[in-house]
C-alpha cells in the first residue's frame, strides 16, 4: 500500500502555477527521488505535501487526506527538512533535537536523543553548542537528526546536497540509506544532484516545468544514457 499518494496535485504562488497535476506515490520503506532542473517544481512538490503552499488535488498519507498547514502535516507524521539546512541557529544542538520531538507527547524523548547519537555521536558531545556555530554539513546532519526526533512516518528532504562538499553529501546519503535499511525509514528526497540521488533511491520522478515528465526505477533511469543526457544533465 502506498504510504504517500499524490493525485493530480497542483500548487500556485499567487498567479504563477508552479505545479500541474503531479501524481506520485511513495510506498512504505522506499527511498524515492524527485529530480529536475531549477524551477521544475521539486521544492514546490514538498511544500505542497507539507501545506506550506496552497494546493489542489488530493494528498493522502496512509489513506488519510493531508489537510491544513505545516503544523498539521508535522502532527500526522511528516518530517520536512527544508532547503538550506533548516536548523534553528539561535538554539543549541540539544534544543534543536528536542524541538524535533515537539509533536510527541510520550516521555522517551531523551532515549531518542541517545538513539540518534548512534548515527551522529557528536550531537551529544556538543549538545550545548549553538547550531549557528556548526559547519554547513553539521547543520544539515542536525536538521536530519531533528527530523528523526519526531519519529516520522515519512521524511521529506529538500536539496540536502545544496552548498555542501561532495564528501559530506556522500556521508549524508549514506546515513539516509542506513536509516532506511535499519529502521525502515521512508524518504522522499528532492535533489538537483541526480547522480547521487539515483544511487540512494529505489525509484525516481523527473519533473519538468511543474509536471511529471517521466518516472521509473532509479536503475532504469541511470542506465538510460539518453534520459541521463536530456533530463538529468550528466
Amino acid at each position: 500500500m502506498a504510504l504517500l499518494e499524490l493525485d493530480r496535485v497542483g500548487a500556485r504562488y499567487g498567479p504563477v502555477q508552479a505545479l500541474h497535476d503531479v501524481s506520485l506515490t511513495v510506498r512504505e520503506g522506499e527511498v524515492v527521488a524527485v529530480l529536475g532542473a531549477n524551477g521544475a517544481g521539486k521544492t514546490t512538490t514538498l511544500r505542497a505535501i507539507s501545506g506550506i503552499v496552497s494546493r489542489s488535488g488530493t494528498i493522502e498519507l496512509e489513506g488519510k487526506a493531508v489537510k491544513g498547514g505545516p503544523e498539521a502535516a508535522a502532527k500526522s507524521g511528516i518530517a520536512h527538512v527544508p532547503e538550506g539546512r533548516g536548523t534553528f541557529v539561535d538554539l543549541t544542538v540539544t534544543e534543536n533535537l528536542k524541538l524535533g520531538a515537539y509533536t510527541r507527547r510520550d516521555r522517551s524523548v531523551k532515549a531518542d536523543i541517545t538513539r540518534i547519537a548512534e548515527y551522529f555521536p557528536w550531537m551529544v558531545e556538543r549538545g550545548a553548542q549553538r547550531a549557528g556555530t556548526l559547519s554547513g554539513g553539521e547543520q544539515q546532519m542536525l536538521a536530519l537528526g531533528r527530523a528523526l526526533m519526531s519519529r516520522p512516518r515519512l521524511l521529506l528532504l529538500d536539496e540536502p546536497s545544496l552548498g555542501l562538499a561532495p564528501l559530506i553529501v556522500r556521508e549524508f546519503f549514506r546515513i539516509v540509506r542506513e536509516l532506511n535499511e535499519k529502521e525502515g525509514l521512508t524518504v522522499l528526497v528532492v535533489e538537483q544532484d541526480a547522480r547521487i540521488a539515483l544511487k540512494a533511491s529505489e525509484r525516481a520522478y523527473v519533473l519538468e516545468v511543474g509536471r511529471v515528465a517521466l518516472t521509473g526505477t532509479s536503475d532504469e533511469l541511470r542506465g538510460d544514457e539518453s534520459i541521463r543526457k536530456s533530463y538529468l544533465g550528466y
Binding site: S50, I52, A74, V89, L99
Partner: protein, 304 residues
C-alpha cells in the same frame, strides 16, 4: 559630610535599581514582542496603565487585598494580551511593519481614551504592597517599596527565564520567534506562540504598572515616560536580547539617578528632573548611531 554623601549615594543606587527594575520589565515586554512580531509595541505603556487601573478597581471598589488583586490582574492582563494579538494584530501581521506599528499607535490612543472614559483623568492612589517603611542598613536609608520593587522585578525576570529556557512551550516560543516557517514544520503552532508572547508582554507590563503607580500616582499618562525609558533600556541592551533589556533597564535606572545625584553636588548642576526624559532619548540616539545592536545584541547573521 563624606559619610552623608556616601549614604546618599547608596540610596540613589538602590532607588535607581528599583526604577531600573521597572524599566527592565517593560523593556522585556518590548523585546518579547519585537522578537516575535518584529515591531515596537507603542501601546505597551497604555496596556500597563489599563492593567494597573484594573488592579486599583479590584482593590478600591471591590475590597480585594493587594496580592490577590495583583495575581488576578496578571491573569486578566495575560488574557487581554492574547486577545489583542488575536483580534487586532493578527489580521495585519502579514502586511508591512508600518501597518502593525500604526495599529499599535492606534491601540495606544484607544486604550488611553478608554482609561480616561472609564476612570477619569484624576490621579488615584494605589498603595504599595511593601508599605512606606524605610530601613536603615548601615547608615543607608532604603525604602521598603524600592527593595520590594527590585525583588519582584528580578523574581519575574527569573521566572520568565525558567519558562523560556527549561520548558517545552518556552522552546517553542523561541523557535517561533526566530524562525517561524521552520517552527511550523516541526509542528509548533506559531500564531498561538505569537499570541502567547503578547500575553506575556501584557503581563510584564501589568507588573511594571502596579510597581510604578505607588510612587508616581495612578493616572492615565502614568506609563508614557516609563515606556520611553523602557525603550531606551531595550535599545541599550539590544532590542532582541532579553538579557540586554534587563541589564539595560538597571543601568538606565542607576545612570539617571546618578545624574540627579551628581547635580546636587555641583557636578552636572544643569541636570534637572526635566532632563531625565531627554537623557533617555539621547541614549537611544547614541546607541543607534554607535552600536545599533546594543550591549548584548548580535549582529544579524546571514547565511551565504
Amino acid at each position: 559630610m563624606v559619610v552623608a554623601a556616601f549614604s546618599d549615594f547608596m540610596q540613589q543606587i538602590v532607588s535607581g535599581l528599583a526604577s531600573g527594575g521597572i524599566y527592565a520589565l517593560l523593556a522585556l515586554a518590548l523585546v518579547i514582542i519585537h522578537r516575535s512580531t518584529g515591531v515596537i509595541n507603542f501601546s505597551q505603556g497604555e496596556m500597563a496603565t489599563l492593567s494597573t487601573y484594573i488592579a486599583w478597581t479590584l482593590i478600591t471598589n471591590h475590597g480585594w487585598s493587594y496580592w490577590p488583586a495583583f495575581v488576578a490582574t496578571l491573569v486578566i492582563s495575560f488574557g487581554g494580551g492574547v486577545g489583542i494579538h488575536r483580534v487586532v494584530i493578527r489580521p495585519v501581521e502579514r502586511g508591512s511593519v508600518l501597518r502593525i506599528v500604526i495599529v499599535t499607535i492606534g491601540l495606544l490612543v484607544a486604550i488611553n481614551g478608554f482609561v480616561i472614559w472609564q476612570w477619569g483623568g484624576e490621579p488615584q492612589q494605589l498603595q504599595s504592597p511593601f508599605g512606606t517603611d524605610t530601613y536603615d542598613v548601615g547608615g543607608v536609608v532604603v525604602a521598603a517599596h524600592d527593595i520590594g520593587t527590585l525583588a519582584v522585578a528580578l523574581g519575574i525576570v527569573f521566572l520568565l527565564w525558567l519558562l523560556f529556557q527549561f520548558t517545552k512551550v518556552g522552546l517553542a516560543l523561541r523557535a517561533a520567534a526566530v524562525n517561524p516557517e521552520e517552527a511550523r514544520l516541526t509542528g509548533v503552532r506559531v500564531t498561538w506562540m505569537l499570541a502567547l508572547g503578547w500575553g506575556l508582554a501584557a503581563t510584564l507590563g501589568a507588573v511594571a504598572g502596579m510597581l510604578t503607580a505607588p510612587t508616581v500616582g495612578l493616572d492615565p499618562q502614568m506609563m508614557q515616560a516609563v515606556l520611553i525609558y523602557a525603550f531606551a533600556a531595550a535599545i541599550l541592551g539590544g532590542i532582541d536580547s532579553p538579557l540586554g533589556a534587563v541589564v539595560g533597564g538597571l543601568i538606565l535606572g542607576v545612570l539617571l539617578n546618578m545624574l540627579s545625584y551628581l547635580s546636587q553636588y555641583g557636578v552636572f548642576d544643569w541636570f534637572t528632573e526635566e532632563l531625565r526624559l531627554p537623557a533617555a532619548l539621547l541614549i537611544i540616539l547614541v546607541v543607534l548611531l554607535v552600536r545599533p545592536t546594543g550591549l548584548f545584541g548580535k549582529p544579524e547573521v546571514k547565511r551565504v
